[in-house]
Symmetry: C2
Subunit: 318 residues, 2 copies
């Protein structure tokens, strides 16, 4: 399949590097200020070297990538809230051209889900977004295969940064600020970690789950009740531990409600994953609980989910 | 979609009962000595009541179910080894008629995988068999979506009966025979438990995984190195426990080898699931390890996997 990639960060780069292994050609890639386009397939190594040395993937305009010949657009620009731009506009243009869209960007499907599905209904293209929830973990594909109406609730640990901080605090008895600084040193937390530690990122993933599971309404971040981990003292973790429990940032979608916040969970529970691991539990109507866990972030991990989505798209006519 | 169901045990019955929720019609169902057929869709409650009261689903010949009008055959007769009959014959007939086949029966894809895939290649019908490995857990669909060549190894706890026995022995310090009798009382183990406790069932699932993962050869049960749990003394579990470990019956497919046997695993490890839970770990080339766990057996659980497979089949032309 011919792929155009919007976004040349860790995810966009990994998709470009791995696409060839699955037999795909990358015909266009754009960063925020430039693009490289070749209808016969780009030389990815050369493009990424240029990005590293000159800070730009090419000499074309980013718009040229969106106008290029491709079968599926990979939308891997940073997640934005509210109008979810520029990601939403990229999705809109691709669907209006009857092209498929595979999203790593959470914005369009968390903040403007109804508009995205309406555009997809009028398009010969399909929209898939496995990579937006739980990285490499096959959450949305499982919900799709089971049928959303057979899933009665979803919950899990959906932010690796917050989980790393909480599990380190619990294991070492250290304070929040200390562990956060350590996480920043390790590259597990960003310089501004608020999106992760305040629960926004986990909430967006829960909103996407809620949109997929809901039959009759649309959710946005404004519908989620969100509390972060930044106010948890080590003493709370110590108290939990004395009772055989620990604290995790749990997101839950159940009964039409979306809630994200620190929760007490048994230390032996499936939800008490450690480090940056993510887990999603799906409660099913007829098959009990499914636990799906793995790496919830990272370039190759997220690219793996994107390529799995591409694998599920209908093949283009030869 | 119109479904024909071969087998009216727990799995076949559950498929029949749940198919309507997904909008499917069951046009035929067969047990070992009779069949009920209705091209407009059977009254499932009436058929299953008849099975309960008279021991037969209908008055037609089982052959009539295989000759009926349907889009997909659900093969849910008991797993047999060697020639995998009569299941293999059912698969063959359906594919020769260009119909889809969804298997719960492990025999045809464990013992005659090459023949099944060759038949499918010559057919307009597809073959799916998610229900044969790990019950409701989405193992084969995940491998399919990721691409088999990106999975470097698979291992897990694939037999709920053996796991129930081992985890009860470990938790209670009881002997094998005692716990097995308890499991039989609870309906977790069959009167003849050898298929489960000797590792054959787990090995068949590993053979199926090996067949799906292999690119260049076919595996059968004869290729698996299998050891059961029937010779494990409580003292071995006690020794393991003193070292923070426990024993689980682990099946593993890696480097072209299939091995099933009791293994020491850390008590906190993901593989140390308790009770009848199953878990599968997939080692991926680019996304680390995925853990997928849930209920590995049971009528509605297995039926859920079958219906998920049906959900992935191409829709018939209207």
């Amino acid at each position: 399949m011919r792929l155009a990639i919007a976004g040349a960060g860790a995810v966009g780069r990994s998709v470009a590097q791995l696409a060839g292994d699955d037999g795909h050609d990358v015909t266009a890639i754009a960063d925020s200020r430039s693009a490289a386009v070749d209808p016969d397939g780009l030389d990815i190594d050369a493009v990424l070297e240029r990005k590293d040395s000159e800070g730009a993937v090419g000499t074309a305009d980013p718009e040229d990538a969106l106008a290029a010949e491709y079968d599926a657009l990979v939308e891997a620009t940073p997640t934005t809230l509210g109008d979810a731009q520029p990601g939403f506009g990229h999705v809109e243009r691709a669907l209006e051209r009857d092209r498929h869209v595979v999203l790593a960007n959470k914005g369009p499907v968390a903040e403007r889900y109804g508009e995205v599905t309406a555009l997809a209904e009028d398009s010969a293209g399909e929209v898939r977004f496995e990579a937006t929830v739980g990285g490499a973990i096959p959450v949305l594909s499982t919900i799709e295969d089971y049928g959303p109406s057979t899933i009665t609730a979803a919950r899990g640990v959906l932010n690796g940064t917050a989980n790393f901080v909480l599990s380190r605090m619990a294991a070492e008895g250290l304070g929040y600020e200390h562990v956060l600084a350590e996480a920043q040193d390790l590259g597990v937390a960003e310089a501004d970690p608020s999106f992760d530690v305040e629960g926004t990122d986990a909430a967006l993933k829960c909103v996407i789950l809620a949109n997929v599971l809901a039959e009759d309404r649309e959710y946005t971040l404004a519908d989620a009740t969100v509390e972060g981990i930044d106010a948890i003292p080590p003493s709370a973790l110590e108290l939990a531990r004395e009772d055989g429990r620990t604290i995790r940032l749990i997101g839950e979608v159940a009964g039409g409600e979306i809630r994200v916040g620190p929760r007490l969970v048994p230390e032996q529970a499936d939800l008490a994953v450690t480090g940056t691991t993510n887990i999603v539990q799906l409660e099913t109507e007829n098959a009990g609980r499914l636990n799906l866990s793995g790496r919830g972030a990272g370039g190759p991990e997220t690219a793996t989910a994107i390529l799995a989505d591409i694998n599920r798209l209908p093949r283009p006519d030869p």
